[in-house]
């Protein structure tokens, strides 16, 4: 399990999420309170949008609490849209390529959760990627592969639906290959304009997700656990997606059960009825 925080709104310094709050992300790197593991010391990463369509990114393998570079960058960089993450490794060794956020073109993605039996699913998941997405794989985590799978399934055009498809596909092949399936998934992803958050689990234990206004003028912050006690953090219910853009915050249901095969089947049904 990992901890993360994301922001969209008027430009603010990254430190307002990463280092300054009482229960900042760096604080959570050694004492998270609502995670399965209190210590999230297997690296960290930030992705932020500036003048270019692609985000800048900085990732490293030291615990976030002891990295001077992270502190200096968080203090210096202002951004209207950024993701920040501290990692507790489940799948994949401690190395930069395995640290979130993952970036592909203008898109970035970070995740808290895990795919059960990933070792037995990995190969089939990779086989769904076309050459371009396959070659874009740099690390060995389940998270990066979920992101690539969602990109493959159309994340760029219909973000929430493609992400639901990716998770639904993983659950499906897990049932085929292992007789069971469990995905726990709380993630943030963005194209540099709109920030999406999702909270979902196959079972009853979806990792937590909270939202709160921040930075004024309709700005919002999404976090895996609250950054302080003062703010009014709203818990996002499991099975939800959150969409943050210039119009403020919007919410929607998130249901991986909506599968392309099923849809096709339904579409065909009338034809079959003939």
């Amino acid at each position: 399990m990992c901890r993360w925080a994301a922001y969209r709104g008027e430009p603010i310094y990254l430190e307002e999420l990463v280092t300054s709050p009482a229960h900042s992300l760096i604080e959570q790197s050694h004492c998270a309170t609502r995670a399965k593991t209190a210590t999230n010391a297997d690296g960290f990463g930030i992705a932020w949008y500036g003048d270019r369509p692609e985000p800048g990114r900085f990732r490293d393998v030291l615990p976030a609490w002891s990295d001077c570079n992270l502190k200096s960058l968080a203090r210096q960089i202002k951004s209207p849209l950024f993701l920040a993450h501290v990692r507790a490794a489940t799948h994949g060794s401690t190395r930069r390529d395995n640290c979130h956020p993952f970036v592909n073109g203008t898109w970035s993605f970070m995740h808290n959760g895990q795919i059960d039996h990933f070792d037995r699913l990995r190969r089939s998941m990779e086989s769904m990627l076309d050459d371009e997405h396959f070659n874009a794989r740099a690390g060995s985590t389940d998270s990066e592969l979920l992101f690539l799978l969602a990109l493959q399934f159309g994340l760029r055009e219909r973000p929430i639906a493609a992400m639901a498809e990716a998770i639904g596909f993983v659950e499906q092949i897990s049932r085929h290959l292992t007789g069971t399936a469990r995905v726990r998934f709380t993630a943030a992803f963005t194209d540099g304009q709109t920030l999406y958050g999702v909270r979902y689990a196959t079972d009853e234990h979806a990792p937590t997700l909270y939202a709160a206004p921040m930075g004024g003028k309709g700005g919002y912050c999404l976090v895996s656990e609250p950054l302080n006690d003062e703010t009014d953090w709203v818990e996002i219910p499991a099975g939800s997606a959150v969409i943050l853009n210039a119009n403020g915050l919007d919410a929607a249901g998130f249901d991986p059960a909506w599968e392309p095969e099923r849809e096709t089947a339904e579409l065909r049904e009338p034809a079959m009825a003939h």
Copy 2:
């Protein structure tokens, strides 16, 4: 606060302390139970003696639990005498030069504890070193400086007495410079033949130290906290030194109050009585 384990006896694989026990040193790097901090993730190190009089050393800055090199080395290397340490930084940044054990010629040293107000004492401590010991300083920790001070004061000839002098000196200058003094010190050090352990604090809270037979034929293990529940670990009382050599385990009092100035004063007293 840090965690450590030391061994002297028949050659055993380093993994018998570092990775194999239920509560191994790597286990303690993320869930120490008798330390002020449960997480000891600011690097680690090992020093072991083989065919040469000088020890080999391997130190790195990742948490011990995620370092593949450490696991492989601990599994491959056998030694009759070695020190192993996982660090929770108090003074000094996370970098290799600040990881224990510290090595000087045939001597190696590691430490759990701290010197209060070290920032105000450091310069006076360094000023006691001759050029050779001054130039041997590679990092910025209080621990390394204590080791160099003890070397300066004669560690090579009278190990326990010189270490007591070094600590007594630090307490003394601390009282002069800050009006108070507190050193907490549980350490292991060796010349490659005899293994010394010390447990001491200026106040009532000396960091814990335990000993138990290990490896057969008079071998012993010293640890900052027990490696398992089965073994009969003996707690070494505060204010003690332990000496492990071919004759087995010996114990002695450890009292930094024995100061060279005082001794000189006492020697002079009769003269003054004239």
Copy 3:
């Protein structure tokens, strides 16, 4: 291109190849003389055999010349059989998982050379691996994948033939997928008993390979370039394999053209002629 050195014979300190010679491996990490690139600063690694059937391994990403751990380990560890490597990256980022030697069970492998158009061949190469070998892939280099392919093709039973098959297979799919093929390959690999060296290239430019007696009593050293001027280094011709075991040095031709399909076809031909 990379630089490497391997040894089999009476136990010697690793430093006799890694740090001591005038043109030691560490020296070659910044001034190799017979390589395409003089600088080999993208990490390094050693694998050595001791009391266990599996080798110990130590790899890291700093330039070999500045790593204190490497110097200390090379000075302390004695071994009758070891591989040592300094890397200049062609495929795969600078991270430990991409540093040679690669280890699988009791086998270890290191390589200097490259596969042209690897990005277009990688997927088909991976598809030949069974689940066990596929899951054993930790990095992203062409070298590690060649090793896994050779293991898949029977390296454990017939080392030279399986390696030839692996290279022949890569050349074959390269011709299919890119219309051309070029593999340059100078490698050392061992099961902990016998040390194998191979020098081969699809074209006329096989990376260099030299051998010389070392360490007395039939010991030998294999290197990508000589470690000094005094020793009588024998250049191993392209298209050769070298086998070093208790009986000394043996040599054989190395021809990837020997393919299983072809052999089967040839064997069947007479039968078909009936």
Copy 4:
């Protein structure tokens, strides 16, 4: 010897010095042409000014050519004033604390060159620092200590003069302690407003320094060697200081022989003449 580049002018992306030019700083990290060493692979660093008076800083120990973070940051960050450096270690191990630029409050500093016999001068140099500057020392390089010495001698109020004093002092104590003196020093430093460059050596071999307009509107770039062949790079003569501010480029002589003692002596002379 190291390589560096500094910029002051309209905000530009850091990549315009660090990665984009034909002979960019990253290119120079493996093939510098006018340095004593072609390889500058012992770490790198950048310091840049944004909205705050203090600079942001990013330093790491990998060769600049293989660090993905550096590439991403250089591509994303725009600044009107920044320093960038690639290191070839002379004094001090490869670690972040020893990488340039060094930062103290709003000031930053980077250096190419070295102090001969630094090991014998270091202690006397450190003894000149007051407690605040002494405690600010994080690494072990001659460069950082020169910077702290200049700060101690008044860099904040009279930058060029204090730097000359610092170098003059080092030459002086070197003559006292070793009977000879040689400082080679090409450096850039700034308070976030004005950019200073200095080229100096005790002997005839001052490391090179070049300047050229860049970024339009009176912007300038200072470099240890030209970044490309097209631009008209002006070589700054040895014994010079360059001052870049809103008024453009100004130059002055740089003479460490101007010593406070001497000045005092001169000031006293008339008095003594009475």
